[in-house]
Symmetry: D3
Subunit: 132 residues, 6 copies
């Protein structure tokens, strides 16, 4: 069972251990110190046994609530680098964002459920993470 | 090789072993006794060896016919609960519909082919089934 | 300024002044007495002067509220023919639905704003109405 | 003839003549002082006579160049409020951005061509401008 | 009322009155003598009065038939320059194709109906024609 | 990390070891000797460890360059059967094209990265290949 959500956020890519020159060389225009932004789409896939009483793997209303609380309400219309605790020290690449989201949602699910999170940074670029 | 089709159908979610209250609590507005409906999108993925003579895993025209006969012609513009034999006793959640579709198509394919079926109930909610 | 919403509903097409045969001839499988359903997408376009203080034609949060109250909360997960007052006597074709939606939203807007409503019954079929 | 492009940018909505309280009341989370961001999609529609020698209204390669120079290269991966001259004093609402883009492209086109610009701020919210 | 269809075809752009050099200069890689191809999407918009008996502007089943006969069955899996009579002497630019389609469909409609045809050559490039 | 690109090309399906009749029987209108065409979408998925210094699995700018050099610049606006060396003797079915693309890109990637390529021939038909 999968569900899609989205949030709009500003970010920049930067490694504070590197010189300004190296940051520009590696991250290009994504290093703009004034930030740029994206409409992120996030797809949460939960798999497991179908409950014979409900016919559900997971109640979509419950999954929607978890996504809102852990991801959408927290990140929407925010600056990831400045406003979000976890990206104050972690570079907000798509790979790192998807890992953080995966951890936050995984803790809220029953243990027997498997989780994959896909994050679209743009329509053309996206990452997927399943916990390993 | 994958192919996408769609059908428009009415349904409601209900467990006849439960009280009306419990059905409303669990299924919410999906329990509406007058039904609601969806434009379902179904994606059928068939994988296996590429036939060296045709360059095909499966002839797309054949797969299209199987999908039409087993799914699209049977479900399109129908009420799943009232018009479709298999959902008279099985709750038509996305999880249960995808399982029924998978079984119907699997029987029509050569044994060496692997099958995955993905069903979109809305653009934001979908399920996937590969036979286990 | 335009905004998109959607609702899932069941309906059937039927003219009570005609025989069953004529209804089937004209409306085909859309006449199924057990109903079928759609994921309707509705796009509301509002045009007019840009307010120099806000830079807005209309505040998107206000338009979102109007759409929810007049359309999405009323029609979502309903049977249009049975549950919705206005379609008890009016055949719920896309053309008639879009006219009803246009009237409900127009009454909520400032008089100087122009309104167009587009309704997608499926990804391939849609209608547009601007009040004439 | 129409062509689609996109750019990713950060922005915030703010009216410097208002108190902080009024800005928050009107612009809500779009007023976040640390900015948020979007993947903007821009569609440029050019209409006019078809040239009998080429069969073109306008050469798509020429239109693509104009869009890149006037819009995409200038706005992509930028902070609209801080990095772009025209939005240092003009609130970057979708309505104001589309007006600026329209003016920049119009100056580059032959006088007999008509221009409409559509700007999607998100998949669900967009504005259209034709010069009046 | 609008309906969407698509066809897959090969074509090349060429003006036989010009030198090879001029054709390459103007049409670039679209002039490739071995042809290239597209998945064309065509959207047919028909507007007019809603018939009070049916609630339809035009019966979608009828429009679908007209589109299949006049456009989709004739152009799908064809080479526009070699296989289609009307493009043997007319350069198959998107502008010229949309004009031909408009004429073919217009002749099949009741006189009081207005027609607009939109043709997508790619997801990013499209043309629209309303008969003037 | 995944990235999407597209190219427009002409092709036909044909097995030179078969009679004309057998080719028509098996490949239907895809056998048209004058070719037809598609807007191919190609999605390249690369997976592996996230580099702790950059937060990247692979630099998207590098992957974009590889895709342009190995696939998009080579195939766009070409006739696959006539203009592309590898399909002069190999039938350009979606299955065969995706295999060729996978091999070309795999050679350019670091050995520890895993690669999947998905090729959409139309919005409804696509193939996926991961190297086995």
């Amino acid at each position: 069972m999968s569900r899609k959500g989205h949030f709009n956020a500003a970010h920049r890519l930067n490694n504070p251990d590197w010189s300004e020159e190296k940051n520009i060389e590696i991250f290009g225009k994504c290093n703009n110190p004034n930030y740029h932004g994206h409409n992120y789409d996030v797809i949460v896939h939960v798999s497991g046994e179908v409950d014979p009483e409900t016919g559900y793997v997971i109640d979509m209303k419950v999954l929607k609530e978890i996504m809102n609380e852990e991801v959408l309400d927290r990140y929407d219309h925010r600056n990831l680098n400045l406003d979000i605790e976890e990206f104050k020290t972690l570079n907000p690449t798509a790979e790192n964002i998807v890992g953080v989201i995966w951890n936050r949602i995984k803790e809220r699910l029953d243990n027997h459920l498997e989780l994959t999170v896909t994050l679209y940074e743009t329509e053309r670029n996206y990452v997927e993470y399943s916990g390993k």
